[in-house]
């Protein structure tokens, strides 16, 4: 189970990275999703561009009430509290349940989000948070609302000539409630249903239902879900017309648990 041949490039700066992208190179961050696909020959890139050494790719900075998380920040760093405040607590809780620690030590928030595996945790959580994905293209940075970033299975709003550079999030007040629930038969298994609900004081609660083998369902105003989790979860899932009754049951359960935890 060895990859097909490819060449490797390590761009030293962002323009070089964008140039490689323009030449058709496949960008890779921690490689925890692409790595297995390479080994299984499910991905057959001719060239791989390793983004990990780009300046500012990893790390967290604060600009007023905005937290900027470099796309190359690892899940483990987030788990260990690199993001401050209530937002950091919420993200740390999500990060801890991604795959396994040795994977989290390499895997990155940006790599995972841009890969857009429907079962991925960040694809189920970030769309509920106030903020933007910062894309960098030949014309400079573009801000994509997080709720609009994931478009489908392995499909995002990134254009072919853009790289995901950072995630910008609004800091959250300490009284923010957050619920996150996913169904895995064992830790690290691809989730079969993930939901999260964010209730920030003074703002409409938001929710996401993901791991649907489709784009996540983003609920911009989840007030009804918070008011009556069981009934509203059932109503929301019914609108999806999922074929598999088990997956539908899991989706309802995920929404209900997430909502109850966020109350």
């Amino acid at each position: 189970m060895k990859p097909a041949p490819f060449t490797y490039a390590r761009p030293a700066d962002w323009p070089a990275a964008l140039a490689l992208l323009a030449e058709g190179a496949r960008p890779v961050a921690g490689g925890q999703s692409l790595g297995p696909m390479l080994n299984l020959r499910l991905a057959l890139p001719e060239r791989v561009a390793d983004l990990r050494h780009l300046p500012g790719y990893a790390g967290v900075s604060m600009q007023g009430e905005t937290v900027r998380i470099g796309a190359g920040t690892t899940h483990a760093a987030i788990e260990d509290g690199v993001v401050p405040g209530r937002l950091g607590e919420i993200l740390a809780g999500v990060a801890r349940r991604i795959a396994y620690r040795p994977v989290r030590n390499r895997g990155t928030i940006g790599g995972s989000f841009a890969h857009a595996d429907p079962a991925a945790d960040w694809c189920a959580v970030l769309p509920a948070l106030p903020g933007h994905a910062i894309a960098l293209g030949p014309e400079g940075e573009r801000r994509i609302p997080l709720a609009e970033f994931v478009l489908g299975v392995f499909e995002t709003a990134l254009r072919g000539d853009e790289l995901l550079r950072a995630i910008e999030l609004s800091a959250l007040p300490p009284a923010t409630h957050f619920g996150h629930w996913k169904f895995c038969r064992k830790p690290g298994e691809f989730s079969k249903a993930t939901a999260c609900v964010l209730a920030t004081p003074g703002a409409a609660p938001t929710a996401v239902l993901a791991a649907l083998d489709a784009a996540p369902l983003v609920i911009a105003d989840a007030s009804a879900l918070l008011a009556d989790p069981t009934a509203e979860a059932a109503r929301l899932v019914a609108t999806l017309a999922l074929e598999d009754p088990w997956r539908a049951a899991l989706a309802r359960t995920a929404l209900r648990h997430a909502a109850e935890a966020a109350r």
């Binding site: 189970m1 060895k2 990859p3 097909a4 041949p5 297995p36 299984l40 020959r41 169904f183 038969r185 064992k186 830790p187 690290g188 298994e189 691809f190 598999d244 009754p245 088990w246 049951a249 899991l250 309802r252 359960t253």
Partner: protein, 773 residues
Amino acid sequence: MTATISKGVGASLRRKEDARFLHGRGRYVGDIRPAGTLEVAFLRSPVAHARLLGVQKPTGLVFTAADLPEIRPIRANSTLPGFRASDQPALAVGKLRHVGEPIAACVAPTRAEAEDLAAACVLDYQALPVIADMLAARAPGAALIHEHWPDNAFLETRRDEDLTDLDAVAAAKVTRRLRTARQHMAPLEGRGVLAEWDPRLEQLVVTTAAQMPHVTKTGLAECLGLDEGQVRVVAPDVGGGFGYKGILLAEELVCAALAIRLGRPVRWLEDRLEQLTANANCREHFYEVTAWADAHGKLLGVEVDATVDAGAYSLYPFSACLEAAQIGSIFPGPYTLPRFRFRTVSACTNKPPILPYRGVARTGVCYAMETTLDALARQLGISAQAIRAANLVPPEAMPYRNLVGKVFDSGDYPEALRRAVAAVDVAAVRARQAAGEAVGFGLSVFCEQGAHGTSVYHGWGIPFVPGFEQAQARFTPDGVLELRVGLHSHGQGLETTLAQVAHEILGVDPARVRLVHGDTALTPYSTGTWGSRAMVMAGGAVAEACRQLGERALAIGAALLQTDRASVRLVAGQVVAGDAAVSLDQVARTWFRSPQNLPANVDRGGLEVTAGYRPDPDTGTHSYAAHAVVAKVCTETGMVTLEQYVIVEDGGVLVNPMIVDGQVLGGVAQGIGTALYEEMPFDSEAQPLAGTLADYLLPGATEVPDIRIEHMETPSPWTRFGQKGLGESGAIGPPGAIVNAINDALAPLGAELLDLPATPARVLAALAKAGRA
């Protein structure tokens, strides 16, 4: 004598093999790469059934069957009447019969380049109708997998007895249709082969991850037209077997033929993708069971119609019908069944051929029998304990011969049941149920025939019948005791336990005992490690070899002490006469280096003995156990959580209790996989749908609860120390006990689960069928 207590039979001695593994110094096939080694990747069939029309090869070393005519097909024929023979070609000839069947060997300096070659091959084939299911295989008009057969059955076996009169007298009758999933044994290390040709000795040396190196050697010689002296098989450290490595591999034959042809070392290391997609090869059974009982739960009769999905070929050496043939003889389990009718079918399908996995057919049989018993108990309104107590073989009947001729050696089966039930607070489970919680209590009781010998395997018709197990014991000139056995230790800790046996007999410190195993050039012939036989068979053989070696040492020691044989005895590694003593080291030194001091009448065999052993009778030991489980079911998601797991186990005299617990715990983890997680799904075209361990779920540390084990130690009357084989037992009981607990939890909701594994989706489907989800 303290030394004997702390290091001999019965001691939880730490393992001698641990140090190398803890430092990363284990040596597995994949760790060995002689200079000039060529790597092989196999082009494998992408379809389950097709006529193979041709292979367009890229430039490079690519070999099809036509290029390697020196390899004869693998034949594993059962001697049972009616068995239909089929040849398994090492590389496909004419037809493709399952996804993953090897078609061509692609050879290159690195595995990656070999895979490039495989990817560049173009296959020409004509698809044929696919038999993806064992029941469909038997349907009239089904496509034939082996066209010279009249239908798709390797073998059908029967025991006819008319049970229809039981309808009139039974207080309860149940019929259940049950399925177990196709699994993969999934040792952490895959298979691997390194073949080299030694021109000096004109010998083929095959280093391979094998449980039975001598059988592999015989098979290699047969299929390559070599004499057995021209083949040496080395099994180095092996990263888990569980049955997966108890086979002659097509890949071994191909690598061997290539090594001879190319004059270079040739290596193939199986990867997880090919392992899962080409070789998911065990456990898939279907049962239709009908059982009748009286009002007390006493079984009046059982009828079972069992089908085993045996896959496309008959594998060497166990053949395609070992499982089905076993089902007929072991279905009565630990119970005194008065009447029994069965039919078994080994169905041929377009799936990988089956191999016996830890527990072999017992896991499926135990599942079918134990869930049927609970169904009867529910119908009768009696407890799961009561129905088992009414049917278990009582201790006073031991040794007991059941209606199909199985002979149980010893034990108190009802006591194991009582202790298992007593270890769980069943009343608390009932109280939670009364409060509406979906929690349940489940039991399974079973026995495991192990170390069964010549008569049993001959009866099952397999082409490799074990005889006397041999061991060699010898002193080196410095007094180290070297033991040589032909079977193989790949996790079982035989380097430690056989040293304990030697210590028990000779008093030599286990630190001064070395075990040589896994090399046919250095060890006596053995049918290998399988069938829970190693500790009984090799333990007995080592004990006998050491006893005879001790006799020779005593004779020399007596001479050195200037006394007679009758006046000396072995104590703690010394020959002792009164206050005088001479160490075994001195005895060894005398034989090898100071023979002038030997007595005139010394045994000229020297300090080297080969002895054979077989229990008498050789019908096998029966370890047995009761498993008790408390499981909670989430009726919303279908998720099952094991809250409590208790095992009461009787493996006779335990040579090393720590290692025994390890075997039981490891087996239970695999049984939990069978019960709840592991399943290779196939689509209607027999395409395997799980290619990674993210899809084929193996239990991890979070899925296996902290298991409590209690031991009973009823010696087997027929073995050297009273020990019994129990290496497989842990994997037998869990599906029955766990699903019984699930069904106990679901019973108030009117739901019942029948198929394995009990996945959340199946639990919810069962609830939906009962109108409760």
